[in-house]
Amino acid sequence: MTTATSSVIDLGTLRDNPASCSLHVVELPEPLRFGRSPAQDLDLLRLLRAVTSHAVRLRWTLSGCPSFPLHTYAHLLPPSLGLELDDVAHTVAWARDYRYGSFYYRRGPEMVAIKDVRPGQPASRMVIEEGADRFERLAESPDGRPEAGDGELVADAVEAGLAIETDGRALVLPFRMRHWPVPYLSV
């Protein structure tokens, strides 16, 4: 078999090329360990944002708790399992609030359109015109380090609830919509 039916994938491979796993079921053998530091949590959430954007059907196990409020990441693919009892409880809470496509952005002509229909807050749609290119670069940045002169952009995004920040690095929260679901207007 050239394509293994076993779906185990290592973290590095997934991080390097999540697009290669689009729509496929894959499984991380080791838990994702949250709660060690906000910076590490930010990186793991960045990975989950990429996984969600590329529609990877990732099965992963949660260990610990992210250092950020649940509503900032509940739109990202939740864990399938929790390692400890507290992790299980958090897995259940995360999965309860998760719905694919509840917080995403779309790239358009000199603009970025954002839709936020996460539970527990008013639905909103917004369009970023000025600085759309810089917003996109920040969103797709592999490490979330803002470019020179992007301090105000990051501050504005954080204030608007579009990003979280720690240790000089940012994570734009909405993921880029790369895979429309069926039915296509359900998100």
């Binding site: 039916t5 729509l23 529609a55 358009g108 002509p109 000199e110 015109e129 880029r176 895979h179």
Partner: protein, 609 residues
């Protein structure tokens, strides 16, 4: 001359009016002032929201707009106003609803608000101080348009009333003009040349007799000019949607909708020019296929997306131009915008065409599948087989495209026996997108079944739905309406009930079902079966010969053709037949009329309910 163009309920709330957008553009292009626009759909939804304190609003509007047409429900809401009798059609609809087992609670709750709305609409339109009000009418827009036009004429007899649009095509336009004297002019056929010509005639520059397709009156009586030639694509303007986008940005309705662009890259139907689908009347008198140049389509899409910051586009074409797979969609994909586009397509799509659509952001297709039964598809003159349609469903599923289709029945000479093979296999297709439902075909004006009674529907009368809509005798309705009642043929209602039940089970099972190839190489194919109603298991197809045979089945083959294509492996015909039967037992293939098709998908789309 001051012009106001009106689109009354029930167009989709999340799209601007294409006819208004086009007529605004052509009017301005002739050097006249920009017409005002009255978007009656949005205004009616606003009116309902306000008048009912939110009990009725955009959601209920949309329900009527999407479900009401074939029962005349949207027209009925305004029929009391048009006929100046609040009780008009009430008993008739009640009896109709009982006979057809439909729920009329929603429209019954809406109807009391129609009179006030028409009054407000008429006064709002008159507030623009028009000398001419143009109503564009398609499907259920006739009665709300006529009711509003009548009131405008009462309030301001000097204002000219013009009707146009799909409901005015051919004889229907003449009949509207004949039946409703307050309609001064009807433009039949496409408006890009005829509408400015009418304005020229009103200005005294040309004679009314020179306006293509115009219905008009003179002291000598009523006149129906012959419809003009269909316009070439180069004369189809870019629609002007500015005022609609401004309106929804400020309207309370805006909170309920996501605005979408309504675009037109072609008119007519290239398939219908060669093989007119026997039940279809949608193209009216405009069957000739006319597609815009690829660069024009790309320019229109990009400029309007830019102008209105809108990445959702509904292409209204009845069928995509095959050139666009090569000359439009790759360029759209190269933009790297996250578009969401709807297109109607022919159902015999190739995987490379599906892939280029996916890359370009075509996320929703309507492939005109209509049935999975080959003898019935032949009666429709669709030019495809049931196996070919299942293949398209499979490949669209693999690509994650949303597919909209309905199952039609009730064709002359079809029999239950025709359906047996397909119906028996429907449970195996539960992982593919189901039809929205099953419906008996209606006799539509302009369709071959309407135009040629010898094809199986010799007797016809205006559909019963018009009894609760118009206070007109059948002989005055006959030329005005689009739908006709006729004897039921083909499947009986009891037979159709079985089809509907199977489709219901299919729809229920689809969200939780998948049948997906998990892995494949030259020696083995593994198919994960997670279909509702089937044992959860992984099927393994082993050995180079059968792997090669399975690959052939992905194209749909007869046993004979399959044997020939894998002849190098030395499989006997009987071996292949046994193997195919085994695959069929496991629901891994769909077979009809000697063709066999593998039905597992390569990926499973994300499904969000």
């Amino acid at each position: 001359m001051t012009i106001c163009l009106a689109a009354m309920p029930w167009p989709s709330l999340d799209c601007p009016s294409l006819p208004i957008g086009l007529l605004k553009a052509v009017t301005v292009a002739t050097g006249r002032p920009e017409p005002q626009a009255y978007h009656g759909g949005v205004r009616w939804a606003e009116h309902l929201l306000t008048a009912t304190d939110g009990e009725l609003g955009p959601q209920e509007y949309t329900e009527v707009a999407e479900e009401g047409m074939f029962h005349g429900l949207g027209d009925w809401v305004f029929a009391g106003v048009l006929n100046d009798d609040d009780n008009f059609g009430v008993e008739e609809l009640r009896r109709y609803a009982d006979d057809h087992r439909i729920d009329i609670d929603l429209v019954t709750r809406m109807r009391p608000y129609a009179r006030d709305f028409v009054e407000t609409a008429a006064r709002d339109i008159l507030a623009t101080r028009p000398t001419l009000v143009g109503f564009t009418t398609t499907f259920m827009q006739n009665v709300p348009s006529l009711a509003t036009a009548r009131r405008i004429k009462e309030l301001a007899p000097e204002v000219l009333i013009v009707f146009g649009g799909g409901n005015c095509d051919g004889a229907m336009g003449s009949a509207i003009h004949k039946n409703f004297p307050f309609v001064d002019y009807v433009v039949r056929g496409e408006g890009e040349i005829a509408f400015p010509a009418l304005l020229d005639a009103l200005d005294g520059r040309i004679n009314f007799a020179a306006v293509p397709g115009l219905c008009w009156r003179s002291p000598e009586g009523r006149h129906d000019n012959p419809q003009g030639a269909l316009i070439p694509p180069a004369l189809m303007p870019i629609p002007d949607y500015d005022d609609w986008f401004l309106l929804v940005a400020e309207s309370p309705v805006g909170e309920y909708i996501e605005p979408k662009l309504l675009l037109e890259s072609a008119r007519g139907c290239w398939w219908g020019e060669k093989h007119h689908c026997t039940f279809c009347g949608l193209n009216g008198t405009g069957m000739q296929f006319r597609a815009k140049a690829p660069e024009a389509v790309i320019g229109e899409l990009t400029s309007l997306a830019r102008r209105h910051q809108t990445l959702d586009a509904i292409m209204v074409d009845n069928i995509i131009d095959n050139r666009y797979f090569r000359e439009v969609l790759p360029s759209v994909a190269a933009l790297d915008w996250d578009l969401r586009i709807h297109y109607e397509v022919k159902s015999n799509l190739r995987p490379d065409e599906i892939e280029v659509m996916r890359q370009a952001g075509v996320t929703h297709v309507q492939p005109g599948i209509e049935s999975l039964v080959s003898p019935v598809l032949k009666l429709m003159d669709k030019g495809v087989t049931g196996v070919r349609n299942v293949r398209t469903l499979r490949d669209c599923e693999s690509a994650g495209l949303t597919v909209s289709w309905s199952w039609l029945y009730g064709f002359p000479t079809e029999s239950v026996a025709d359906y047996e093979a397909a119906l028996r296999q429907l449970p195996a297709l539960v992982h593919l997108q189901p039809p929205a439902g099953a419906a008996r075909i209606l006799l539509e004006r302009f369709s071959p079944y309407f135009e040629n009674p010898l094809l199986g529907f010799p007797n016809r009368r205006p559909a019963r739905i018009y009894e609760h809509v118009y206070a007109l005798p059948p002989e005055r309705l006959a030329d005005m309406v689009y739908l006709f009642d006729t004897e039921s043929v083909g499947l009986s209602d009891a037979d159709a009930e079985r089809l509907s039940k199977l489709i219901g089970v299919w729809a229920d099972g689809y969200p939780s079902s998948s049948l997906r190839i998990l892995g494949r190489d030259d020696e083995e194919i593994v198919i994960g079966d997670r279909r509702v109603g089937w044992p959860e298991r992984n099927h393994r197809i082993g050995g180079a010969a059968f792997v090669a045979a399975y690959r052939e089945l992905e194209h749909g083959r007869t046993v004979k053709a399959l044997a020939a294509r894998v002849a190098e492996y030395g499989l006997a015909l009987e071996q292949l037949e046994d193997w195919l039967r085994e695959l069929a037992d496991h629901g891994l293939v769909f077979t009809e009329q000697g063709h066999w098709l593998a039905v597992a998908t390569t990926t499973e789309p994300l499904k969000v309910s």
